[in-house]
């Protein structure tokens, strides 16, 4: 066994032991917190070093277990794709643990720390095993462990009814998503005679009907986890309910395991068919634009971030679609640009979305609310959190010189090459990526200007916001580290290229790194450095000009009005209104209003919520159809035990006849 794999495997007992100890110390909050966090930090650090080593050395190995399950041996392995995802998992979770040290210190109410840490460590382990697994059985077991441990984290604050509802919603969504995955592996494993990935890869003919069926099942099952539109409906419910260090990990890496699953399935299926790529591009466009529009409409900071995850998953889907189109056409440059851009965006989104969720957690910590319109003016009260959140906001909007730009740039270049080099039909599809990505970028910028501006700038809108204070050291360290990584990848993307080189080549099916990638990335470095120099130059010119001059402080200009109140500021809803106006028809307005009765009405209320288009227009009717279809089976359910026994008997007879008839 290589050192890399041993290190990664060694991190598992550390995390599990630490989590168990923390659970044993249930009654002693401080002790539980310290053991849980220290073990979490150690475990992720060891795992991270292993993953990094595996990436640098390009380790490829598989280790089978000595013990056997009833269905065969269990095996784990390392290859560049696994190492890359392990790197993302351990990095984002490590930052999450650092953040949790301070975050869990002051929990609201009588909540206990231990479950938040024990299940967190379990979640990290199960995610690591998902990507390590080399056979379907272990994969599905770890997948289920991941769903369950995150379910307990989502329902951590179970005293609130909304949290319990979100938890149940999440649990159901996870298990609905599991059904296509079980089908997928049964379908693939049956002809292969084994559930090992190696055997499946050898037995599956590329491009056949089996491969297509497998791809569609994987798209559905993994798509639910990843949050593709329209099966993302669980995501904006579950992610905001979880504690913030967990939301950061769920949005940052857990949903990316859906992407991992899809990519892993692709490696099992050989050369993909071109139309799979078209499907992913279409999904990417809809998820991206739909996600960001819904994000703009939100007034809850964490819900906004959850919807923006749907948008970013859309960008990743665009990259994957491009990669598949390139691969199917035998153009490894386009394939690398697509898959590489998608992978880079997986890492980048993990970093900035983790950072932003942590920022949201800090805001909640300091003010007790995540309602955008109750906040404001936090930049002065929480300067470090504010600066980190601003960095994350600019990064998620895909602006240079930050990391979000780099991944999108690779996808842009790939899409352009698709137009130039591929046949017209494929070229039109890759062309569609360009305006879509541009629109998503523009809307994301508006969305995050709103999120950052309404929360951190202006005057505080409530006393709670005015009384806010900067958060603990550990939380600040985690956020600043995240922001620093965002800048580092933006300025020196060659470092990140080293990380995606291996898995990108694996997916693109060619070991050669296309020269255009290094060329573009070194250009990014030059542009980023030039930009930073120019900003420094302009800032010093401004400083020198103002140094000897009179600089005064006064009220904000309000057409001569000198006594504005914070309530006169533009709110989140008013900011979003202008942007959403052209997209008015896709939203369903849920309005609750009343109280304006009689000649002299006293109190009135108006509550307006923009519904989720997918939930209102797609999922709800679909569920209605299902319910009415199942209603037809109601005649089976009459409550008499004897009748049920008859059904059981009949079923057994039918099965026997079917099986015996087959022989």
């Amino acid at each position: 066994m290589t050192v890399a794999l041993s290190l990664v495997l060694f991190s598992i007992p550390i995390l599990i032991l630490g989590g168990t100890l923390s659970a044993i110390l249930y009654r002693h909050d401080r002790a539980a917190r310290i053991t849980g966090c220290v073990a979490g930090f150690l475990g992720t650090a060891v795992g991270l070093s292993g993953a990094l080593l595996g990436l640098i050395d390009g380790v490829e190995e598989t280790v089978a277990s000595v013990w056997r399950l009833p269905v065969g041996t269990v095996s784990v392995g390392l290859d560049p794709l696994t190492s890359f995802f392990l790197f993302c998992i351990f990095l984002v979770c490590g930052l999450g643990v650092v953040y949790a040290i301070g975050y869990l210190k002051h929990l609201p109410g009588r909540a206990r720390v231990a479950p938040a840490l024990a299940f967190f460590n379990l979640l990290v382990v199960s995610m690591a095993v998902v990507v390590l697994a080399r056979d379907a059985i272990l994969f599905l077991l770890a997948w289920e462990a991941m769903s369950l441990s995150s379910f307990f984290l989502v329902t951590f604050d179970a005293s609130q009814e909304s949290t319990r509802r979100a938890g149940i919603f999440y649990l159901i969504a996870c298990h609905v998503g599991l059904v296509p995955l079980v089908l997928l592996f049964v379908l693939l494993g049956d002809p292969a005679g084994s559930f090992g990935f190696q055997a499946i890869r050898a037995a599956t003919a590329p491009g056949g009907g089996l491969a297509t069926a497998a791809f569609l099942l994987a798209l559905l099952g993994f798509g639910i986890k990843a949050g593709f539109w329209p099966v993302h409906v669980w995501l904006p419910e579950a992610h905001p309910a979880a504690p913030s260090h967990v939301s950061a990990v769920m949005s940052g890496v857990m949903i990316k395991l859906g992407i991992y699953g899809l990519l892993r399935t692709l490696t099992l299926l050989g050369t993909p068919l071109e139309w799979w790529g078209f499907v992913l591009i279409a999904i990417g466009i809809v998820s991206g634009v739909g996600g960001v529009l819904h994000a703009l409409a939100q007034h809850d900071l964490k819900r906004l971030l959850a919807y923006s995850s749907v948008e970013n998953i859309g960008i990743i889907a665009l990259g994957m679609g491009l990669g598949i189109v390139g691969r199917a056409n035998g153009n490894s440059t386009i394939a690398f640009l697509g898959f590489g851009g998608a992978l880079l965006h997986v890492l980048n989104h993990g970093l900035f979305k983790g950072l932003l969720f942590q920022g949201a957690g800090s805001v909640m910590h300091a003010t007790g609310t995540r309602d955008l319109d109750s906040l404001g003016g936090l930049m002065k009260r929480m300067p470090v959190t504010g600066a980190a959140f601003l960095t994350g906001s600019a990064a998620i909007s895909g602006l240079p010189p930050l990391n979000g730009f780099v991944g999108e740039l690779l996808i842009y270049v790939g899409a352009f090459l698709g137009v130039v080099e591929l046949p017209s039909a494929s070229g039109l599809w890759t062309l569609a990526i360009v305006p879509a990505l541009a629109l998503i970028g523009g809307l994301a910028a508006a969305c995050f200007v709103k999120a950052f501006g309404v929360v951190f700038l202006g005057e505080p809108r409530t006393p709670a916001a005015a009384a806010a204070h900067e958060v603990d050291m550990s939380m600040r360290i985690a956020m600043v580290a995240g922001a620093a990584l965002c800048i580092a990848i933006g300025v020196a993307p060659q470092v990140a290229l080293r990380l995606i080189e291996g898995p990108g080549a694996l997916l693109a099916g060619s070991a050669l790194l296309p020269p255009v990638v290094t060329e573009v990335l070194s250009a990014v470095t030059r542009a980023s450095l030039a930009l930073i120099c120019l900003v420094a130059l302009a800032a010093s010119v401004r400083f020198l000009l103002l140094r000897r001059r009179e600089v005064r402080r006064a009220a904000t200009w309000g057409c001569g009005y000198e006594a504005p109140t914070p309530r006169m500021q533009y709110t989140s809803a008013s900011f979003a209104d202008q942007v959403l106006a052209p997209a008015e028809t896709i939203f369903e307005h849920h309005i609750e209003a009343g109280g304006l009765n009689g000649y002299f009405p006293r109190t009135a209320h108006h509550h307006e919520r923009l519904g989720d288009m997918a939930a209102d227009r797609v999922m709800e009717p679909a569920m209605g159809l299902l319910v009415s279809a199942f209603g037809r089976l109601g005649f089976l359910q009459q409550g008499g035990v004897s009748r049920y026994l008859v059904w059981v008997l009949l079923t057994v007879v039918v099965l026997l006849v079917w099986q015996l008839g087959a022989f």
Binding site: S397, L457, W557, P582
Partner: protein
């Protein structure tokens, strides 16, 4: 070396007079004499010599707005060729970087506006965000039309190929791209019919209202950046419309004439049109996206290399 110096000289000397030319054209059409061509230059110098007043609500984000907006536009200006097919800072995929640099400047202008806590500025930022997002696909589609014949995503490659093989009149795709870019220019630089730079009512402004609280050197930075943006976007259109040869004399001359033509065109549009109602602006911008998309389709059916 000479090319680089000339590029820098133009970047420093020409944007503000170009803005002046727009005003002069508008005045002529209205039957007035108008301010001197160098009036914007005098304004900026005056602002640079002033102190500043900051709102008590603001933080460093407010001060960062003009600084980032100006420097990102300067970098965009270094990327776009001016009068010769190459630029001092061109690289592969610089077209995308160019578009995103404009986005960066906008992002920081919008955050600086929200930093004042004023409803007016929030309004301006919200409108800017909405309209910019809609203009973005048009910009990218037009840039694609520009780049596909050259097979490379940099202005240098695109402009080197254009005059030789794809004259504007021979390729309707390019004509549509120029049209879309023209709309993007009007939207990005907040000119009529999207926004009126001369309005005095805060409620109807877009760009002006976002920078309402800036004064002194900050406002000077904003004015310079604004003029630069007009100049830079103008030079993309000029290169697209005029076949600019890689010659050391005719190229720059054609370029200057083209830029002057754009200033005159902006002035004429501004004199003969009223601004659109705010709710109409998205339709105007989506129209530009459609025009650019049709241009792409034309490219696909006829003009693919």
């Amino acid at each position: 070396m000479f090319d680089v110096l000339m590029h820098l000289a133009w970047l420093i000397l020409l944007p503000l007079p170009m803005l002046g030319l727009v005003t002069v054209v508008k005045s002529w059409i209205a039957g007035r004499r108008g301010p001197p061509l160098l009036q914007p230059f005098h304004d900026v110098v005056k602002l640079l010599r002033k102190g500043a007043v900051y709102s008590r609500t603001t933080t460093w984000v407010f001060a960062a707005g003009p600084v980032v907006a100006l420097s990102s536009t300067v970098l965009a200006g270094l990327i776009v060729p001016m009068g010769s097919p190459s630029s001092p800072f061109g690289f592969s995929a610089d077209v995308i970087v160019f578009a995103y640099l404009l986005g960066l400047g906008r992002f920081f202008t919008m955050t600086a506006a929200l930093d004042t806590g004023s409803a007016f500025e929030g309004m301006g930022a919200s409108r800017e965000g909405a309209f910019a997002a809609l203009a973005e696909p048009a910009l990218f589609l037009a840039l694609m039309i520009l780049c596909v014949p050259a097979g490379g995503m940099s202005f240098g490659e695109a402009f080197a190929v254009l005059p030789a093989s794809h004259g504007l009149l021979r390729s309707p795709g390019l004509l549509l791209a120029a049209l879309a870019l023209g709309v993007v220019l009007l939207a990005e630089t907040s000119r009529i019919p999207v926004d009126d730079p001369n309005t005095h009512l805060e409620l109807t402004m877009i760009h002006e209202v976002m920078v309402l609280d800036h004064g002194g050197p900050d406002l000077a930075f904003i004015q310079i950046g604004y003029a630069l943006k007009l100049f830079v976007l103008g030079s993309v259109i000029v290169h697209l419309v005029l076949p600019i040869p890689a010659d050391s004399w005719t190229g720059p001359a054609a370029f200057l004439a083209g830029q002057a033509g754009i200033a005159v065109a902006v002035g004429i549009i501004e004199s003969v049109m009223a601004r659109l109602r705010l709710s109409r602006v998205p339709q105007f911008l989506i129209g530009a996206c459609v025009v650019a998309a049709v241009g792409v389709l034309v490219l696909f059916t006829g003009g693919r290399p």
